[in-house]
Protein backbone atom coordinates (compact mmCIF):
# COMPACT_ATOMS: atom_id res chain seq x y z
CA UNK A 1 0.00 0.00 0.00
CA UNK A 2 2.68 2.40 -0.99
CA UNK A 3 1.13 5.77 -1.65
CA UNK A 4 3.17 6.87 -4.59
CA UNK A 5 1.95 5.04 -7.66
CA UNK A 6 3.96 6.27 -10.56
CA UNK A 7 1.55 6.43 -13.51
CA UNK A 8 3.75 5.76 -16.53
CA UNK A 9 3.65 7.84 -19.66
CA UNK A 10 1.64 6.62 -22.64
CA UNK A 11 3.73 4.26 -24.74
CA UNK A 12 3.43 4.16 -28.51
CA UNK A 13 4.80 1.18 -30.35
CA UNK A 14 7.67 2.11 -32.63
CA UNK A 15 7.17 0.27 -35.94
CA UNK A 16 10.94 -0.05 -36.41
CA UNK A 17 11.16 -2.35 -33.40
CA UNK A 18 8.66 -4.69 -35.03
CA UNK A 19 10.52 -4.69 -38.35
CA UNK A 20 12.29 -7.97 -37.64
CA UNK A 21 9.09 -9.72 -36.62
CA UNK A 22 7.32 -8.17 -39.60
CA UNK A 23 9.80 -9.73 -42.01
CA UNK A 24 9.32 -13.07 -40.21
CA UNK A 25 5.55 -12.77 -40.65
CA UNK A 26 5.89 -11.82 -44.32
CA UNK A 27 8.17 -14.82 -44.86
CA UNK A 28 5.82 -17.17 -42.99
CA UNK A 29 2.79 -15.90 -44.88
CA UNK A 30 4.56 -16.22 -48.25
CA UNK A 31 6.00 -19.66 -47.57
CA UNK A 32 2.75 -20.85 -46.01
CA UNK A 33 0.53 -19.64 -48.86
CA UNK A 34 2.78 -21.22 -51.48
CA UNK A 35 3.03 -24.46 -49.49
CA UNK A 36 -0.71 -24.63 -48.79
CA UNK A 37 -1.39 -23.87 -52.47
CA UNK A 38 0.89 -26.68 -53.61
CA UNK A 39 -0.69 -29.04 -51.07
CA UNK A 40 -4.15 -28.14 -52.36
CA UNK A 41 -3.07 -28.61 -55.97
CA UNK A 42 -1.56 -32.02 -55.22
CA UNK A 43 -4.43 -33.28 -53.09
CA UNK A 44 -7.46 -31.01 -52.68
CA UNK A 45 -8.69 -33.11 -49.78
CA UNK A 46 -5.48 -32.78 -47.77
CA UNK A 47 -5.23 -29.08 -48.62
CA UNK A 48 -8.82 -28.43 -47.53
CA UNK A 49 -8.41 -30.22 -44.21
CA UNK A 50 -5.07 -28.51 -43.55
CA UNK A 51 -6.58 -25.09 -44.17
CA UNK A 52 -9.58 -25.87 -41.97
CA UNK A 53 -7.17 -26.98 -39.25
CA UNK A 54 -5.16 -23.75 -39.40
CA UNK A 55 -8.27 -21.60 -39.62
CA UNK A 56 -9.88 -23.19 -36.59
CA UNK A 57 -6.64 -23.11 -34.60
CA UNK A 58 -6.48 -19.33 -34.90
CA UNK A 59 -10.24 -18.94 -34.59
CA UNK A 60 -10.12 -20.60 -31.14
CA UNK A 61 -7.15 -18.44 -30.10
CA UNK A 62 -8.84 -15.19 -31.09
CA UNK A 63 -12.22 -16.14 -29.63
CA UNK A 64 -10.34 -16.98 -26.43
CA UNK A 65 -8.68 -13.56 -26.39
CA UNK A 66 -12.11 -12.01 -26.93
CA UNK A 67 -13.37 -14.02 -23.95
CA UNK A 68 -10.58 -12.71 -21.69
CA UNK A 69 -11.24 -9.18 -22.88
CA UNK A 70 -14.96 -9.53 -22.08
CA UNK A 71 -14.24 -11.17 -18.75
CA UNK A 72 -12.09 -8.21 -17.74
CA UNK A 73 -14.98 -5.78 -18.17
CA UNK A 74 -17.77 -8.08 -17.01
CA UNK A 75 -16.02 -8.78 -13.69
CA UNK A 76 -14.72 -5.21 -13.43
CA UNK A 77 -11.17 -6.52 -12.94
CA UNK A 78 -8.37 -4.31 -11.78
CA UNK A 79 -5.32 -6.48 -12.39
CA UNK A 80 -5.72 -6.88 -16.13
CA UNK A 81 -5.86 -3.21 -17.14
CA UNK A 82 -2.19 -3.07 -18.14
CA UNK A 83 -2.40 -6.16 -20.35
CA UNK A 84 -5.90 -5.43 -21.69
CA UNK A 85 -4.81 -3.55 -24.81
CA UNK A 86 -3.01 -6.64 -26.05
CA UNK A 87 -6.16 -8.72 -25.49
CA UNK A 88 -8.02 -6.09 -27.53
CA UNK A 89 -5.41 -6.03 -30.29
CA UNK A 90 -5.59 -9.81 -30.56
CA UNK A 91 -9.38 -10.13 -30.21
CA UNK A 92 -9.94 -7.42 -32.84
CA UNK A 93 -8.14 -9.69 -35.32
CA UNK A 94 -11.49 -11.51 -35.42
CA UNK A 95 -12.44 -9.02 -38.14
CA UNK A 96 -9.73 -10.53 -40.38
CA UNK A 97 -10.28 -14.19 -39.52
CA UNK A 98 -13.24 -14.21 -41.91
CA UNK A 99 -10.64 -13.74 -44.70
CA UNK A 100 -9.12 -17.06 -43.67
CA UNK A 101 -12.59 -18.60 -43.93
CA UNK A 102 -12.94 -17.59 -47.61
CA UNK A 103 -11.07 -20.68 -48.97
CA UNK A 104 -13.31 -22.91 -46.86
CA UNK A 105 -16.39 -21.08 -48.10
CA UNK A 106 -15.24 -21.53 -51.71
CA UNK A 107 -14.68 -25.25 -51.08
CA UNK A 108 -18.18 -25.50 -49.57
CA UNK A 109 -19.66 -23.89 -52.69
CA UNK A 110 -17.59 -25.65 -55.35
CA UNK A 111 -16.93 -29.10 -53.93
CA UNK A 112 -18.20 -29.57 -50.37
CA UNK A 113 -17.45 -33.30 -50.50
CA UNK A 114 -13.82 -32.40 -49.76
CA UNK A 115 -14.84 -31.47 -46.21
CA UNK A 116 -18.54 -31.84 -45.42
CA UNK A 117 -20.34 -34.76 -46.99
CA UNK A 118 -23.67 -33.72 -45.49
CA UNK A 119 -23.91 -30.83 -47.99
CA UNK A 120 -24.90 -33.22 -50.75
CA UNK A 121 -26.34 -36.00 -48.64
CA UNK A 122 -29.79 -37.10 -49.65
CA UNK A 123 -32.03 -37.28 -46.56
CA UNK A 124 -33.94 -40.09 -48.25
CA UNK A 125 -30.77 -42.14 -48.66
CA UNK A 126 -28.78 -41.27 -45.58
CA UNK A 127 -30.95 -42.60 -42.79
CA UNK A 128 -29.02 -40.91 -40.04
CA UNK A 129 -29.58 -37.56 -41.71
CA UNK A 130 -33.28 -37.92 -41.10
CA UNK A 131 -34.92 -36.46 -38.08
CA UNK A 132 -33.81 -33.40 -36.18
CA UNK A 133 -30.30 -33.14 -37.61
CA UNK A 134 -31.54 -32.53 -41.15
CA UNK A 135 -33.23 -29.33 -39.99
CA UNK A 136 -30.00 -28.00 -38.49
CA UNK A 137 -27.63 -29.20 -41.20
CA UNK A 138 -29.26 -27.41 -44.11
CA UNK A 139 -27.14 -25.45 -46.57
CA UNK A 140 -28.84 -22.01 -46.28
CA UNK A 141 -28.88 -22.19 -42.49
CA UNK A 142 -25.16 -23.09 -42.52
CA UNK A 143 -24.35 -19.85 -44.37
CA UNK A 144 -26.63 -17.76 -42.14
CA UNK A 145 -24.88 -19.13 -39.06
CA UNK A 146 -21.37 -18.59 -40.46
CA UNK A 147 -22.21 -14.95 -41.29
CA UNK A 148 -23.77 -14.46 -37.85
CA UNK A 149 -20.67 -15.78 -36.03
CA UNK A 150 -18.29 -13.50 -37.92
CA UNK A 151 -20.58 -10.48 -37.74
CA UNK A 152 -21.29 -10.72 -33.99
CA UNK A 153 -17.67 -11.38 -33.02
CA UNK A 154 -16.46 -8.62 -35.36
CA UNK A 155 -18.93 -6.06 -33.95
CA UNK A 156 -18.32 -6.75 -30.28
CA UNK A 157 -14.53 -7.05 -30.47
CA UNK A 158 -14.38 -3.84 -32.50
CA UNK A 159 -16.58 -1.94 -30.05
CA UNK A 160 -14.39 -3.03 -27.13
CA UNK A 161 -11.17 -1.97 -28.86
CA UNK A 162 -12.49 1.28 -30.33
CA UNK A 163 -13.99 2.45 -27.02
CA UNK A 164 -10.82 1.55 -25.16
CA UNK A 165 -8.70 3.53 -27.64
CA UNK A 166 -11.12 6.48 -27.42
CA UNK A 167 -10.64 6.46 -23.65
CA UNK A 168 -6.89 6.87 -24.20
CA UNK A 169 -7.64 10.25 -25.76
CA UNK A 170 -10.39 11.76 -23.57
CA UNK A 171 -10.21 9.64 -20.39
CA UNK A 172 -14.02 9.67 -20.05
CA UNK A 173 -15.40 7.05 -17.67
CA UNK A 174 -18.49 6.60 -19.88
CA UNK A 175 -16.38 4.39 -22.15
CA UNK A 176 -15.84 1.99 -19.25
CA UNK A 177 -19.60 1.58 -18.83
CA UNK A 178 -20.18 1.06 -22.56
CA UNK A 179 -17.42 -1.54 -22.66
CA UNK A 180 -18.93 -3.30 -19.65
CA UNK A 181 -22.31 -3.59 -21.43
CA UNK A 182 -20.66 -4.86 -24.61
CA UNK A 183 -18.62 -7.36 -22.60
CA UNK A 184 -21.63 -8.75 -20.74
CA UNK A 185 -23.30 -9.28 -24.12
CA UNK A 186 -20.01 -10.66 -25.40
CA UNK A 187 -19.63 -13.64 -23.06
CA UNK A 188 -22.83 -15.49 -24.04
CA UNK A 189 -22.24 -14.46 -27.67
CA UNK A 190 -18.74 -15.94 -27.51
CA UNK A 191 -20.11 -19.15 -25.94
CA UNK A 192 -22.81 -19.57 -28.58
CA UNK A 193 -20.56 -18.68 -31.52
CA UNK A 194 -17.72 -20.98 -30.47
CA UNK A 195 -20.07 -23.88 -29.70
CA UNK A 196 -22.01 -23.70 -32.95
CA UNK A 197 -18.92 -22.87 -35.01
CA UNK A 198 -17.34 -25.99 -33.55
CA UNK A 199 -20.43 -28.02 -34.45
CA UNK A 200 -20.66 -26.57 -37.97
CA UNK A 201 -17.03 -26.64 -38.99
CA UNK A 202 -15.48 -29.49 -36.99
CA UNK A 203 -18.14 -31.87 -35.72
CA UNK A 204 -19.93 -31.81 -39.10
CA UNK A 205 -16.80 -33.33 -40.68
CA UNK A 206 -18.46 -36.53 -39.52
CA UNK A 207 -22.11 -35.59 -39.35
CA UNK A 208 -23.13 -38.92 -37.83
CA UNK A 209 -21.24 -38.21 -34.66
CA UNK A 210 -22.69 -36.75 -31.44
CA UNK A 211 -21.01 -35.21 -28.42
CA UNK A 212 -22.75 -33.06 -25.85
CA UNK A 213 -19.39 -31.84 -24.46
CA UNK A 214 -18.13 -30.47 -27.76
CA UNK A 215 -18.60 -26.72 -27.26
CA UNK A 216 -17.21 -26.61 -23.75
CA UNK A 217 -14.27 -28.81 -24.77
CA UNK A 218 -13.31 -26.35 -27.50
CA UNK A 219 -13.78 -23.45 -25.09
CA UNK A 220 -11.47 -25.05 -22.50
CA UNK A 221 -8.70 -25.36 -25.09
CA UNK A 222 -9.38 -21.90 -26.51
CA UNK A 223 -9.29 -20.05 -23.19
CA UNK A 224 -6.09 -21.71 -21.99
CA UNK A 225 -4.17 -21.34 -25.23
CA UNK A 226 -5.27 -17.75 -25.78
CA UNK A 227 -4.03 -16.81 -22.31
CA UNK A 228 -0.73 -18.41 -23.35
CA UNK A 229 -0.74 -16.20 -26.43
CA UNK A 230 -1.40 -13.11 -24.30
CA UNK A 231 1.52 -14.04 -22.02
CA UNK A 232 3.86 -14.46 -25.00
CA UNK A 233 2.70 -11.16 -26.52
CA UNK A 234 3.40 -9.31 -23.27
CA UNK A 235 6.80 -10.97 -22.89
CA UNK A 236 7.69 -10.06 -26.47
CA UNK A 237 6.70 -6.43 -25.94
CA UNK A 238 8.70 -6.32 -22.72
CA UNK A 239 11.76 -7.68 -24.47
CA UNK A 240 11.53 -4.62 -26.74
CA UNK A 241 11.30 -2.23 -23.82
CA UNK A 242 7.52 -1.78 -23.64
CA UNK A 243 4.95 -2.68 -20.99
CA UNK A 244 7.41 -2.04 -18.16
CA UNK A 245 4.58 -1.84 -15.58
CA UNK A 246 3.68 -5.50 -16.14
CA UNK A 247 5.51 -7.24 -13.32
CA UNK A 248 5.83 -10.72 -11.89
CA UNK A 249 2.53 -10.40 -10.03
CA UNK A 250 0.65 -10.05 -13.33
CA UNK A 251 2.51 -13.02 -14.79
CA UNK A 252 1.79 -14.99 -11.63
CA UNK A 253 -1.91 -14.39 -12.12
CA UNK A 254 -1.83 -15.20 -15.83
CA UNK A 255 0.09 -18.36 -14.93
CA UNK A 256 -2.72 -19.26 -12.52
CA UNK A 257 -5.15 -18.98 -15.42
CA UNK A 258 -2.89 -21.22 -17.52
CA UNK A 259 -2.97 -23.73 -14.69
CA UNK A 260 -6.74 -23.43 -14.19
CA UNK A 261 -7.45 -24.04 -17.85
CA UNK A 262 -4.96 -26.91 -17.99
CA UNK A 263 -7.04 -28.63 -15.32
CA UNK A 264 -10.34 -27.53 -16.85
CA UNK A 265 -9.31 -28.83 -20.27
CA UNK A 266 -8.43 -32.21 -18.78
CA UNK A 267 -11.64 -32.31 -16.79
CA UNK A 268 -13.82 -31.58 -19.82
CA UNK A 269 -11.80 -33.78 -22.17
CA UNK A 270 -12.03 -36.64 -19.73
CA UNK A 271 -15.77 -36.11 -19.16
CA UNK A 272 -16.37 -36.29 -22.90
CA UNK A 273 -14.28 -39.45 -23.16
CA UNK A 274 -15.87 -41.07 -20.12
CA UNK A 275 -19.49 -40.36 -21.11
CA UNK A 276 -18.93 -41.70 -24.60
CA UNK A 277 -16.95 -44.81 -23.66
CA UNK A 278 -19.26 -45.81 -20.84
CA UNK A 279 -22.44 -45.43 -22.87
CA UNK A 280 -20.83 -47.36 -25.76
CA UNK A 281 -23.25 -46.15 -28.45
CA UNK A 282 -21.74 -46.77 -31.92
CA UNK A 283 -22.42 -43.32 -33.41
CA UNK A 284 -20.68 -41.75 -30.42
CA UNK A 285 -17.76 -44.13 -29.96
CA UNK A 286 -16.67 -43.82 -33.60
CA UNK A 287 -14.79 -40.62 -32.71
CA UNK A 288 -12.59 -42.32 -30.10
CA UNK A 289 -12.46 -45.58 -31.98
CA UNK A 290 -10.60 -43.85 -34.81
CA UNK A 291 -8.42 -41.74 -32.53
CA UNK A 292 -7.50 -44.56 -30.14
CA UNK A 293 -6.34 -46.94 -32.84
CA UNK A 294 -2.89 -47.32 -34.37
CA UNK A 295 -0.75 -44.22 -34.80
CA UNK A 296 -3.61 -41.86 -33.82
CA UNK A 297 -3.59 -43.51 -30.40
CA UNK A 298 0.05 -42.48 -29.83
CA UNK A 299 -0.83 -38.89 -30.68
CA UNK A 300 -3.95 -38.96 -28.49
CA UNK A 301 -1.94 -40.27 -25.54
CA UNK A 302 0.75 -37.64 -26.20
CA UNK A 303 -1.97 -35.00 -26.02
CA UNK A 304 -3.29 -36.33 -22.69
CA UNK A 305 0.18 -36.43 -21.15
CA UNK A 306 1.55 -33.32 -22.84
CA UNK A 307 -1.39 -31.00 -22.38
CA UNK A 308 -2.30 -32.12 -18.86
CA UNK A 309 0.26 -34.14 -16.86
CA UNK A 310 3.34 -32.41 -18.24
CA UNK A 311 1.90 -28.93 -17.57
CA UNK A 312 0.13 -29.73 -14.30
CA UNK A 313 3.16 -30.10 -12.04
CA UNK A 314 5.35 -27.17 -13.22
CA UNK A 315 2.43 -24.72 -13.19
CA UNK A 316 1.83 -25.56 -9.52
CA UNK A 317 5.00 -23.65 -8.62
CA UNK A 318 4.85 -19.91 -7.99
CA UNK A 319 8.49 -19.46 -8.91
CA UNK A 320 7.98 -20.76 -12.43
CA UNK A 321 5.01 -18.51 -13.10
CA UNK A 322 6.93 -15.44 -11.94
CA UNK A 323 10.04 -16.06 -14.03
CA UNK A 324 10.97 -16.88 -17.61
CA UNK A 325 9.65 -20.42 -17.09
CA UNK A 326 6.21 -19.15 -18.02
CA UNK A 327 7.46 -18.52 -21.58
CA UNK A 328 8.18 -22.21 -21.98
CA UNK A 329 4.81 -23.22 -20.50
CA UNK A 330 2.90 -20.76 -22.70
CA UNK A 331 4.72 -21.92 -25.85
CA UNK A 332 4.12 -25.53 -24.92
CA UNK A 333 0.39 -24.93 -24.41
CA UNK A 334 0.16 -23.27 -27.85
CA UNK A 335 1.95 -26.28 -29.31
CA UNK A 336 -0.47 -28.63 -27.54
CA UNK A 337 -3.41 -26.66 -28.95
CA UNK A 338 -1.86 -27.39 -32.36
CA UNK A 339 -1.83 -31.11 -31.52
CA UNK A 340 -5.37 -30.95 -30.13
CA UNK A 341 -6.79 -29.36 -33.29
CA UNK A 342 -4.73 -31.75 -35.43
CA UNK A 343 -6.21 -34.77 -33.66
CA UNK A 344 -9.71 -33.36 -33.98
CA UNK A 345 -9.52 -32.70 -37.73
CA UNK A 346 -6.97 -34.96 -39.42
CA UNK A 347 -8.37 -38.40 -38.46
CA UNK A 348 -11.44 -37.46 -40.51
CA UNK A 349 -9.08 -37.23 -43.49
CA UNK A 350 -6.96 -40.31 -42.71
CA UNK A 351 -8.92 -42.61 -40.36
CA UNK A 352 -6.27 -45.31 -40.83
CA UNK A 353 -3.39 -43.40 -39.35
CA UNK A 354 -1.20 -40.36 -39.19
CA UNK A 355 0.30 -39.12 -42.49
CA UNK A 356 3.26 -36.78 -42.90
CA UNK A 357 1.75 -35.23 -46.00
CA UNK A 358 -1.20 -33.99 -43.91
CA UNK A 359 1.15 -32.70 -41.20
CA UNK A 360 3.26 -30.83 -43.73
CA UNK A 361 0.20 -29.28 -45.35
CA UNK A 362 -1.14 -28.34 -41.91
CA UNK A 363 2.14 -26.64 -40.98
CA UNK A 364 2.12 -24.63 -44.22
CA UNK A 365 -1.50 -23.54 -43.73
CA UNK A 366 -0.69 -22.68 -40.12
CA UNK A 367 2.29 -20.54 -41.21
CA UNK A 368 0.15 -18.77 -43.80
CA UNK A 369 -2.59 -17.71 -41.39
CA UNK A 370 -0.10 -16.99 -38.59
CA UNK A 371 1.87 -14.68 -40.87
CA UNK A 372 -1.18 -12.82 -42.16
CA UNK A 373 -2.74 -12.37 -38.73
CA UNK A 374 0.67 -11.40 -37.33
CA UNK A 375 0.97 -8.58 -39.86
CA UNK A 376 -2.49 -7.30 -38.92
CA UNK A 377 -1.52 -7.57 -35.26
CA UNK A 378 1.53 -5.35 -35.82
CA UNK A 379 -0.75 -2.88 -37.57
CA UNK A 380 -3.10 -2.90 -34.55
CA UNK A 381 -0.14 -2.49 -32.24
CA UNK A 382 0.99 0.67 -34.01
CA UNK A 383 -2.46 2.29 -33.92
CA UNK A 384 -2.73 3.02 -30.21
CA UNK A 385 -0.96 3.00 -26.89
CA UNK A 386 0.59 -0.22 -25.64
CA UNK A 387 -1.57 -0.17 -22.51
CA UNK A 388 -4.78 1.78 -21.70
CA UNK A 389 -3.23 5.02 -20.45
CA UNK A 390 -6.31 6.75 -19.06
CA UNK A 391 -8.27 3.82 -17.72
CA UNK A 392 -9.69 4.78 -14.29
CA UNK A 393 -8.38 1.54 -12.81
CA UNK A 394 -4.84 1.74 -14.14
CA UNK A 395 -3.34 2.68 -10.75
CA UNK A 396 -4.98 -0.33 -9.06
CA UNK A 397 -3.63 -2.56 -11.80
CA UNK A 398 -0.09 -1.26 -11.35
CA UNK A 399 0.05 -1.96 -7.62
CA UNK A 400 -1.69 -5.32 -7.92
CA UNK A 401 -0.42 -8.12 -5.66
CA UNK A 402 -1.62 -11.70 -5.58
Amino acid sequence: MSDHIHIPQAEKFDARKGAKLKSVFVGAAGLGLVGAGIAFAMSPKIGAHAWLFAFFYFFTLLVGCFFWNCLHHATDSEWSVVVRRQMENLAALLRYISLAFIPIAIICVVNPDLLYRWFRADPQQDLLMLGTKAKYLSVPFFWVRACAFFFLLFMLSTVLRRRSMAQDKDGASSHTFTMRKAAIAGIPTMAICLTFAGIDWLKALNHHWYSTMWGVYLFAGAAGSSMALIVLTCKWLQSHGYLKPVNEEHYHLMGKFLFAFTVFWAYIGFSQYMLITYANIPEETIYFRVRNTGSWNYLSMSLVFGRFFFMFVPLLFQGLKKTRGIIFCASWILFMQFLDMFIIIMPELNPDGFSFAALLAAVFAWLAIAGILGLFFLKHLGQGCVFPTKDPRLAESLKFTN
Binding site: M1, S2, D3, F270, Y273, M274, T277, Y278, N280, L316, Q318, T401
Partner: protein
Protein backbone atom coordinates in the same frame (compact mmCIF):
# COMPACT_ATOMS: atom_id res chain seq x y z
CA UNK B 1 -1.91 -6.19 37.54
CA UNK B 2 -3.36 -8.86 39.72
CA UNK B 3 -1.31 -11.70 41.21
CA UNK B 4 -2.49 -14.31 38.70
CA UNK B 5 -0.79 -12.45 35.82
CA UNK B 6 2.82 -13.41 36.12
CA UNK B 7 4.78 -14.14 33.00
CA UNK B 8 5.45 -11.26 30.62
CA UNK B 9 4.02 -12.42 27.28
CA UNK B 10 4.67 -9.44 25.06
CA UNK B 11 4.70 -5.70 24.68
CA UNK B 12 1.98 -4.18 22.57
CA UNK B 13 1.56 -0.83 20.90
CA UNK B 14 -1.52 0.73 19.40
CA UNK B 15 -1.69 2.58 16.07
CA UNK B 16 -4.46 4.69 14.59
CA UNK B 17 -4.33 3.86 10.92
CA UNK B 18 -3.34 1.19 8.43
CA UNK B 19 -0.83 3.66 7.04
CA UNK B 20 0.87 4.08 10.42
CA UNK B 21 1.05 0.38 11.20
CA UNK B 22 2.29 -0.45 7.71
CA UNK B 23 5.33 1.79 8.02
CA UNK B 24 5.89 0.82 11.66
CA UNK B 25 5.88 -2.84 10.59
CA UNK B 26 8.58 -2.12 8.02
CA UNK B 27 10.77 -0.67 10.76
CA UNK B 28 10.17 -3.61 13.10
CA UNK B 29 11.09 -5.95 10.25
CA UNK B 30 14.30 -4.02 9.55
CA UNK B 31 15.28 -3.94 13.23
CA UNK B 32 15.62 -7.76 13.27
CA UNK B 33 12.77 -8.84 15.53
CA UNK B 34 11.37 -12.24 14.58
CA UNK B 35 8.64 -13.16 17.08
CA UNK B 36 6.19 -10.37 16.52
CA UNK B 37 2.86 -9.84 14.83
CA UNK B 38 0.46 -7.21 13.54
CA UNK B 39 -3.25 -7.26 14.36
CA UNK B 40 -5.62 -5.21 12.22
CA UNK B 41 -9.41 -4.94 11.90
CA UNK B 42 -9.20 -5.78 8.19
CA UNK B 43 -6.59 -7.23 5.81
CA UNK B 44 -3.97 -4.61 4.90
CA UNK B 45 -2.66 -5.10 1.38
CA UNK B 46 1.08 -5.68 1.18
CA UNK B 47 1.35 -6.29 4.93
CA UNK B 48 3.15 -9.60 4.38
CA UNK B 49 5.87 -7.71 2.52
CA UNK B 50 6.04 -4.98 5.14
CA UNK B 51 6.44 -7.66 7.79
CA UNK B 52 9.05 -9.50 5.73
CA UNK B 53 7.01 -12.70 5.75
CA UNK B 54 8.11 -15.36 3.35
CA UNK B 55 5.89 -17.74 1.41
CA UNK B 56 4.01 -20.18 3.62
CA UNK B 57 5.20 -23.79 3.52
CA UNK B 58 1.55 -24.90 3.52
CA UNK B 59 1.50 -25.32 -0.28
CA UNK B 60 4.29 -27.93 -0.13
CA UNK B 61 2.37 -29.75 2.60
CA UNK B 62 -0.81 -29.67 0.47
CA UNK B 63 1.14 -31.00 -2.52
CA UNK B 64 2.32 -33.97 -0.45
CA UNK B 65 -1.23 -34.59 0.80
CA UNK B 66 -2.55 -34.48 -2.77
CA UNK B 67 0.11 -36.93 -3.92
CA UNK B 68 -0.77 -39.24 -1.02
CA UNK B 69 -4.43 -39.03 -2.02
CA UNK B 70 -3.61 -39.83 -5.64
CA UNK B 71 -1.52 -42.87 -4.70
CA UNK B 72 -4.17 -44.03 -2.22
CA UNK B 73 -6.81 -43.82 -4.96
CA UNK B 74 -4.58 -45.66 -7.42
CA UNK B 75 -3.90 -48.46 -4.96
CA UNK B 76 -7.49 -48.59 -3.77
CA UNK B 77 -8.86 -49.26 -7.24
CA UNK B 78 -6.07 -51.38 -8.69
CA UNK B 79 -5.47 -53.61 -5.67
CA UNK B 80 -9.18 -54.36 -5.28
CA UNK B 81 -10.32 -54.49 -8.91
CA UNK B 82 -7.20 -55.88 -10.59
CA UNK B 83 -5.74 -57.95 -7.77
CA UNK B 84 -7.95 -59.08 -4.92
CA UNK B 85 -11.26 -59.43 -6.70
CA UNK B 86 -11.00 -59.01 -10.49
CA UNK B 87 -14.41 -58.13 -11.85
CA UNK B 88 -15.42 -57.73 -15.46
CA UNK B 89 -17.74 -54.75 -15.91
CA UNK B 90 -19.21 -54.01 -19.37
CA UNK B 91 -16.54 -56.26 -20.89
CA UNK B 92 -13.78 -53.83 -19.91
CA UNK B 93 -10.32 -55.32 -19.14
CA UNK B 94 -9.56 -55.87 -15.47
CA UNK B 95 -5.79 -56.35 -15.26
CA UNK B 96 -2.53 -54.71 -16.33
CA UNK B 97 -2.08 -57.06 -19.27
CA UNK B 98 -4.16 -54.83 -21.59
CA UNK B 99 -1.99 -51.76 -21.29
CA UNK B 100 -3.47 -49.83 -18.39
CA UNK B 101 -6.49 -52.09 -18.13
CA UNK B 102 -9.59 -49.99 -17.58
CA UNK B 103 -7.66 -47.48 -15.51
CA UNK B 104 -9.30 -44.49 -17.18
CA UNK B 105 -12.62 -45.43 -15.58
CA UNK B 106 -10.98 -45.21 -12.16
CA UNK B 107 -9.73 -41.67 -12.73
CA UNK B 108 -12.68 -40.12 -10.86
CA UNK B 109 -11.69 -42.10 -7.75
CA UNK B 110 -8.05 -40.97 -7.91
CA UNK B 111 -9.09 -37.44 -8.78
CA UNK B 112 -11.57 -37.14 -5.91
CA UNK B 113 -9.14 -38.59 -3.38
CA UNK B 114 -6.42 -36.19 -4.58
CA UNK B 115 -8.79 -33.29 -3.99
CA UNK B 116 -10.10 -34.63 -0.68
CA UNK B 117 -6.63 -35.16 0.77
CA UNK B 118 -5.43 -31.78 -0.50
CA UNK B 119 -8.43 -30.05 1.03
CA UNK B 120 -7.86 -31.82 4.34
CA UNK B 121 -4.19 -30.87 4.16
CA UNK B 122 -5.07 -27.23 3.51
CA UNK B 123 -7.66 -26.92 6.29
CA UNK B 124 -5.96 -28.99 9.00
CA UNK B 125 -2.49 -27.78 8.04
CA UNK B 126 -3.67 -24.18 8.43
CA UNK B 127 -5.32 -24.98 11.78
CA UNK B 128 -2.17 -26.69 13.10
CA UNK B 129 0.11 -23.96 11.75
CA UNK B 130 -1.95 -21.34 13.57
CA UNK B 131 -1.86 -23.33 16.82
CA UNK B 132 -5.63 -23.72 16.88
CA UNK B 133 -7.85 -24.56 18.65
CA UNK B 134 -7.00 -22.36 21.62
CA UNK B 135 -9.20 -21.59 24.59
CA UNK B 136 -7.64 -18.26 25.33
CA UNK B 137 -4.83 -15.97 24.27
CA UNK B 138 -2.76 -13.75 26.56
CA UNK B 139 -3.57 -10.69 24.40
CA UNK B 140 -7.17 -10.86 25.62
CA UNK B 141 -5.83 -9.83 29.03
CA UNK B 142 -5.19 -6.38 27.57
CA UNK B 143 -8.50 -4.51 27.56
CA UNK B 144 -7.55 -2.05 24.80
CA UNK B 145 -6.85 -4.96 22.46
CA UNK B 146 -10.63 -5.44 22.03
CA UNK B 147 -10.46 -2.40 19.74
CA UNK B 148 -8.72 -4.58 17.14
CA UNK B 149 -12.14 -5.64 15.94
CA UNK B 150 -13.18 -2.01 15.62
CA UNK B 151 -10.78 0.70 14.45
CA UNK B 152 -7.34 0.24 16.09
CA UNK B 153 -4.18 -1.46 14.84
CA UNK B 154 -1.69 -3.30 17.09
CA UNK B 155 1.92 -4.39 16.88
CA UNK B 156 2.86 -7.05 19.40
CA UNK B 157 6.49 -8.00 20.09
CA UNK B 158 6.67 -11.21 22.10
CA UNK B 159 9.01 -11.78 25.02
CA UNK B 160 10.28 -14.98 23.39
CA UNK B 161 12.07 -12.88 20.78
CA UNK B 162 15.89 -13.06 21.15
CA UNK B 163 16.17 -9.27 20.86
CA UNK B 164 13.46 -8.64 23.43
CA UNK B 165 14.24 -6.38 26.35
CA UNK B 166 11.44 -4.83 28.34
CA UNK B 167 12.92 -1.33 28.39
CA UNK B 168 14.48 -1.28 24.92
CA UNK B 169 11.45 -2.78 23.17
CA UNK B 170 9.20 -0.27 24.91
CA UNK B 171 11.42 2.58 23.78
CA UNK B 172 11.58 1.15 20.27
CA UNK B 173 7.78 0.91 19.95
CA UNK B 174 7.54 4.43 21.31
CA UNK B 175 9.94 5.66 18.63
CA UNK B 176 7.68 4.09 15.96
CA UNK B 177 4.80 6.29 17.09
CA UNK B 178 2.89 3.59 18.98
CA UNK B 179 0.40 4.65 21.62
CA UNK B 180 -0.64 2.98 24.88
CA UNK B 181 2.50 0.87 24.95
CA UNK B 182 1.62 -1.86 27.42
CA UNK B 183 3.29 -5.03 28.74
CA UNK B 184 0.88 -7.94 28.33
CA UNK B 185 1.03 -10.69 30.97
CA UNK B 186 0.08 -14.30 30.70
CA UNK B 187 -1.60 -16.50 33.28
CA UNK B 188 0.97 -18.77 34.85
Amino acid sequence: MSESYKRLHAIGAEFDSAYAIYHAAEKVRDSGYTNWDCHTPFPVHGMDKAMGMRKSWLSAFIFCCGLTGFITGLLLVTVTSYGLYPTIVNGKPNDWSHGMGALQFFFPVMYELTILFSAFGAVFGMIIRNGLPKFNHPLFNWSRFAKVTDDKFFIIIESSDPLFSETKTKAFLDSLGGKHITPVFDHE
